[in-house]
Symmetry: C2
Subunit: 279 residues, 2 copies
Amino acid sequence: MGQESTTKQTVTERHPIGVFDSGVGGLTVVRALRRALPGEDIVYLGDTARVPYGSKSPRTVEKYSLGCQRFLLDHHVKLVLIACNTASANALPALISASPVPVIGAVDPGAASALAATTNGHIGVIGTLGTVRSNAYARAIGARDANAKLTALACPMLVPLAEEGWIDDEVAALVARRYLTQLFAQDPAIDTLLLGCTHYPLLRDVLARIAAEIARRPVAVVDSASAMAEAARDALGSGPNRRNAAGQLQCFATDTSRLDELAPRFLGEPLTGFDLVDL
Amino acid sequence: MGQESTTKQTVTERHPIGVFDSGVGGLTVVRALRRALPGEDIVYLGDTARVPYGSKSPRTVEKYSLGCQRFLLDHHVKLVLIACNTASANALPALISASPVPVIGAVDPGAASALAATTNGHIGVIGTLGTVRSNAYARAIGARDANAKLTALACPMLVPLAEEGWIDDEVAALVARRYLTQLFAQDPAIDTLLLGCTHYPLLRDVLARIAAEIARRPVAVVDSASAMAEAARDALGSGPNRRNAAGQLQCFATDTSRLDELAPRFLGEPLTGFDLVDL
């Protein structure tokens, strides 16, 4: 194995990066990670038996998230990425307290991406009920730029739309128009739309088109995935795995239903399969 | 309490009926039970922390269903009703084996209702992926009438539509038309539509209207709830609680998010609240 032949690696360098999500949407983060840090091994856990987290209470989300992180730590990860926005928004402090390795959530990188993209400081964020109720994006953006104005809207129909694969048709357009009309009614000056859920990048085209139609000018559409991968690179500092061989991706899930159908859409490459685990 | 003053009750008669569902949709069954057996006490459990079951594998559905039933049995129920069609379709044998009291699923009563309503024997059933994949409705209908023809279609968008409260608008009509067009394309002679999911009765009006539009004649729309209540009355035999005071309804849930908003829509009466439990 390439891993064995690289003599200068420390044990830490050779350990994998851990990523968890409530389901398979977090594979959009894995996709960005593999692009930014191609030599790294990755252990991914999708809590597909208990998906979605987005409609559940902070207490339940925190409990399930701690279980996911424990599983990753048992696999000796050197870094934890919370690909799920709902988990990031509701469980980050608990996850950081419980982890001996650095933990990166989706919210702060997403906020940074949105602030980098906006020209007038008017940002709209869409996400699950759990993410929007937490106010985590408002806090993250406020901490970075007190003058930015954030408008948030929960869009519960977007995850099932993405999972049904109705991603750029009449239903998707109608649902996108209904939600984005509500969002822009609250702040017509929004110039940047932040996708605050790992499922939403699948709907990027229809959301961008309808947002531009409502705003009557182009609207930047950003998500957390690339910014999370950059945060992971920063967290590894001088310790990223520099071997040339492509890192291994090992995927686990708590339920296997629909994985073969859904996972490749988010990952953007074929999958070797998921191992089933009980949490 | 009325319960204490009725001297002729045996211990069995005084025990409650247990009902569980993956979420709050099963309250449509509680509504039918309270109408058919108004003196009975009912213990309801909604597994709202792990909802939905409909997209999950039979293994996970069986595991979670057994946990729900165990909770009801710990509350000394004299009868278990599985309000969730997905659980009924995938876990009924396991639930019956594990229960010392009678267990009533949603599938067989639903099949009986559809056969009672059809005039030409052409029935369409819509439900979750898990319910449709199980073929449980085809088996139940085939066992009762070998000449009946059943056509089944999974409609994953209908549960989120019902939960979002978009129950009779442009989006609901478009989604209903897309699914029902697929269903009637498989059998244009369908004269009865069976709602094979406890959420779907909220969408009854739009489904009936669009089905009639596609079929160009009225289509009977039936569900399991009333038939389950009748099956419960039969199962109690001479043992139903005959006191005149209205039975108590005690509700438990594994997550409390959105309960106050969603539960009354399904129950059709105000709720005194849910107690949170860990399973």
